[in-house]
């Protein structure tokens, strides 16, 4: 295959970026999208030019490192597929492909196609965990979890934190990312004691990072490489409402921490 690429090149966070044209010739349809970029980069290096910088690591669709806008779609045209698992057989010979970094205020560009997604880590820091220190856990089978609940929690927990949901959202919202973690932990019995404060803190952190609000465009669900459902956003909204009401009606919900109920 012979392709024409237009790729976003930007030296660093402070400099201006622009789209640059490259010819990607003799590309095999069995290559992954990133292998196609590898080949383009080898040719650039041979000419003494800076290769296109992009994040990637496992190349198995699970680490969440890679991700780019491919013809305006986060992770490209194949559904439920991260960029590293997208293969060139999904493109036509002589096609023109536009490749850009994730676009969101909360994800500043670091270089070329690499963006800073540390805001997602900070949402988890705000409460996306169960506070259990090593050594204090009860016997694993002491608490039963129905198969349906465990499966649903797993559906939510499958998030790889790639940020495609944010990039695809017209509002730049991280509601799918946050909703998935809130739901995963709120569904499980182990997550109950911190359930209320968790959602309040995580949503506050999400807002503080500059992510937009969710207005249910559902673009996030369409591009999510793990096919995570917007149902989890609805669940997060319910959790948020529940916790907010409980906070207002003092003493009704024991899961509210002292600092917030006093």
């Amino acid at each position: 295959m012979n392709l024409t690429l237009y790729v976003w090149r930007q030296k660093n966070a402070r400099s201006e970026g622009r789209m640059v044209r490259y010819d990607a010739e003799t590309i095999s349809p069995d290559m992954s999208f990133l292998e196609m970029l590898d080949v383009v980069n080898w040719r650039l290096i041979a000419k003494g030019e800076d290769p296109i910088a992009f994040d990637h690591d496992c190349r198995e669709g699970i680490c969440g490192s890679c991700g780019m806008m491919i013809n305006g779609i986060a992770h490209g045209p194949q559904r439920a597929t991260a960029t590293c698992q997208l293969h060139m057989r999904h493109f036509r010979d002589r096609e023109t492909i536009y490749i850009e970094p994730w676009r969101s205020d909360a994800f500043p560009v670091v270089r070329d196609l690499i963006v800073d997604r540390s805001a997602l880590d900070r949402i988890i820091q705000a409460g996306g965990y169960i506070s259990v220190s090593a050594g204090s856990a009860p016997e694993a089978n002491a608490i039963l979890v129905s198969k349906q609940t465990a499966d649903l929690a797993m559906d939510a927990a499958a998030c790889i934190g790639c940020g495609a949901c944010v990039a695809a959202c017209p509002n730049g919202s991280a509601a799918l990312f946050t909703g998935a973690k809130v739901s995963h932990l709120a569904l499980l019995p182990q997550g109950q004691p911190e359930r209320g404060q968790r959602v309040l803190k995580m949503v506050a952190a999400m807002d503080a990072e500059g992510f937009g609000s969710c207005t249910m465009h559902r673009e996030c669900q369409a591009v999510c490489p793990k096919g995570i459902s917007v149902d989890f956003i609805a669940r997060m909204n319910r959790e948020y409402l529940r916790a907010s009401l409980a906070r207002q009606v003092k003493g009704l919900d024991t899961t509210i921490p002292h600092s917030e109920s006093s």
Partner: protein, 637 residues
């Protein structure tokens, strides 16, 4: 150099208890006075960093990824072992211990393996409490499945994403400590050297991968959890950026490197399709629970698999190993696949592939049950190959997956440099010459959650350590060395890509230090590697500068270290004139092609020490004694 394993006294089941009682403690009130550096944020690193912070230490945790959640533990698919005996099928701590020692072909330290089996049960408890959504039965109880090399069901799993879910558990524990201010996380940082002062590890020099700034960091103890070096083969199931730089730098500063030639070749990976291939993708070993492996009886049989009648198929694992069948350990399954392909019976365009067939499972269990168990793996296979495994058998071939070799550590997981602890895949680990499936996650978390927190306590409590800071001349000197090395790479100014050197090295190792080794091939490799290395330092093309994000430069530094480590692997493989586990020397095999171990002469851990001035590395031996699992031929027939 003295190799003191510091194995505790007493009967095997009491050793860890005895050690925990002997060890000195640091008072909770004093822990905040100590700084600990943790390198890597995979299962071992994240669990160690979080747990040390929970105890009250000040932790700095480094990773090269943009987030600790992306460490390559995330890609582990199949599961994690634990001796819970929930299936009532005869499992016990002793059996897990026995299976692991035998699976490792009697080349691991008994006391370490026993401790691992003991701790395995706590890991499941801990992970469940963190909210890891393990697979459950309709009763609400935890589900189990089987893995290779064992005859019980002791593997816990979360679909085909067990590594991801366990890592997220550890990552969330880590993020909680970051929020509490007990861990400072330094992502996109790469350790480029170790600072040793008066024989103790006191700090590191790291490069900020965004700005290129080279910075020193000091601490009272350092924990290396930077994973394995399987990426040295270029094509492997490891993440593209996995590297050996941290352990290799530590080796060059005095840490012994144990069993470097022990590399695990995983039998079920998607075969190579072209020269542009950048990595290989694993298909979980769990698939061997229900998939049947076969090749045609006839050489060069090009018929589509469905047209090959049952009688003309060779289910070679079931034929050769009737009691374990398709669930033999990885080394055995890989060699068997190579053997049938070498005979000309391999499938696919390259002839380097065997079928992994689910027809019988779909017939017997129904497509829905198969989808429930393996759906995401089937989808992944189809995305990569454009073939539907519900209709056509998968084609698989062995690929480099894991390294049992790594830095030598004593029972307390401390290397031969005082204050430098090594955990997870980065150490020479508990797996001997072959790791059983679902044991890597177990070991990483055992080391991080339950071993290192105790042994570091003891080190800090019993050692008089002056507070070192980065103004110490040793830091300045090392910083200068690191800067000069980066400059040297940038100054090469050649015209061959770094990747092409990596590919050349990988091919050489795969051919001569891979699934099968022999003296002639290894000697050739030992002579060839320095030539590639010289050519690299003369002709590698490293574009861009040092004070910016430069992925070519990052890669070049890692490949430069691989080019040195490769030679050590070959020396080790040459020296070990026996076959054991993954290390199959053609000269040493039984009449029916099984590895011929030589316990009389090679029942030891090879620990190599770096020698300066281009001398050959020096071999030290830690003899292995087996008081519980008696040395016996390893049979899965």
């Amino acid at each position: 150099m003295e190799l003191n394993s510091k194995t505790p006294s007493g009967p095997i089941e009491r050793k860890w208890d005895n050690r925990r009682f002997e060890m000195k403690l640091v008072s909770p009130a004093n822990r905040h006075k100590h700084r600990i550096i943790v390198l890597g944020s995979g299962l071992a690193g994240a669990s160690a960093a979080a747990t040390l912070a929970e105890l009250g230490y000040n932790v700095q945790c480094f990773c090269y990824q943009d987030s600790p959640r992306r460490a390559h533990s995330v890609a582990a698919q199949g599961g994690i072992n634990a001796a819970k005996n929930y299936r009532n099928d005869g499992d016990s701590i002793y059996r897990l211990f026995y299976d692991t020692v035998k699976g490792g072909s009697f080349r691991s330290r008994e006391a370490n393996v026993y401790r691992l089996a003991q701790i395995s049960v706590n890991i499941i408890d801990q992970s469940v409490a963190q909210g890891v959504p393990f697979a459950r039965e309709y009763s609400g109880l935890l589900d189990n499945r089987s893995f290779g090399g064992v005859q019980v069901s002791r593997t816990f799993y979360a679909r085909g994403q067990t590594g991801q879910q366990l890592l997220l558990g550890a990552y969330q524990a880590l993020e909680r400590q970051i929020d509490l201010g007990k861990v400072t996380m330094l992502p996109r940082m790469e350790m480029l050297d170790l600072v040793v002062i008066e024989g103790r590890a006191r700090g590191i020099i790291a490069r900020n991968l965004i700005t290129g700034k080279i910075e020193p960091f000091a601490a009272e103890a350092i924990v290396l959890a930077t994973g394995g070096y399987g990426n040295i083969y270029y094509l492997s199931t490891n993440a593209k950026n996995s590297n050996a730089t941290a352990i290799w730098r530590a080796y060059k500063r005095g840490a012994a490197f144990a069993n470097p030639c022990f590399t695990q070749i995983h039998p079920t990976c998607i075969p190579v399709t072209g020269h542009y291939q950048s990595k290989l993708t694993l298909m979980s070993e769990s698939l061997r629970n229900d998939g049947r492996i076969w090749v045609p009886q006839k050489k060069g049989d090009q018929r589509p698999p469905r047209e090959i009648p049952e009688v003309e198929r060779d289910y070679y694992l079931e034929r050769k190993y009737p009691s374990f069948g398709n669930l033999v350990p990885r080394d055995v399954a890989s060699r068997a696949a190579k053997e049938v392909c070498d005979e000309g019976r391999g499938v696919g365009d390259s002839g380097l592939g065997v079928f992994l067939d689910f027809t019988d499972a779909i017939k017997c269990l129904g497509a829905d049950v198969v989808r429930e168990k393996y759906g995401n793996l089937f989808e992944m296979y189809e995305r990569i190959t454009a073939e539907n495994p519900y209709q056509v058998p998968m084609r698989i071939y062995p690929a480099v997956h894991y390294t049992m070799g790594g830095l030598w550590v004593d029972y307390n997981l401390m290397s031969t440099i005082a204050g430098l602890f090594v955990i997870g895949e980065a150490n020479f680990s508990d797996h001997g010459a072959n790791r059983l499936g679902a044991s890597a996650l177990m070991q990483g978390l055992a080391d991080g959650y339950f071993v290192i927190p105790h042994t570091i306590n003891d080190y800090l409590a019993t050692t008089e350590i002056e507070r070192a800071d980065i103004t110490h001349p040793a830091f300045r000197q090392m910083e200068t060395e690191v800067s000069l090395r980066v400059k040297k790479l940038l100054d090469i100014g050649g015209n061959r890509t770094v990747d092409s050197f990596h590919q050349e090295l990988g091919k050489l190792l795969w051919d001569h230090c891979g699934m099968v080794r022999n003296e002639q091939g290894l000697k050739y490799a030992v002579q060839k590697i320095p030539e590639i290395r010289q050519e690299f330092w003369r002709n590698a093309s490293i574009v861009g500068g040092g004070e910016e994000l430069n992925q070519v430069l990052e890669k070049a530094g890692r490949v430069a270290d691989f080019l040195e480590l490769a030679e050590l692997m070959c020396y080790d493989a040459l020296e070990r004139a026996e076959s054991c586990g993954c290390h199959f020397r053609e000269e040493f095999q039984t009449a029916d092609g099984e590895p011929q171990r030589n316990d009389e002469h090679y029942c030891y851990v090879s620990a190599w020490k770096y020698a300066r001035n281009s001398e050959l590395p020096r071999l030290h031996k830690e003899p292995l004694t087996f008081e519980n699992v008696h040395l016996a031929p390893r049979s899965y027939k």
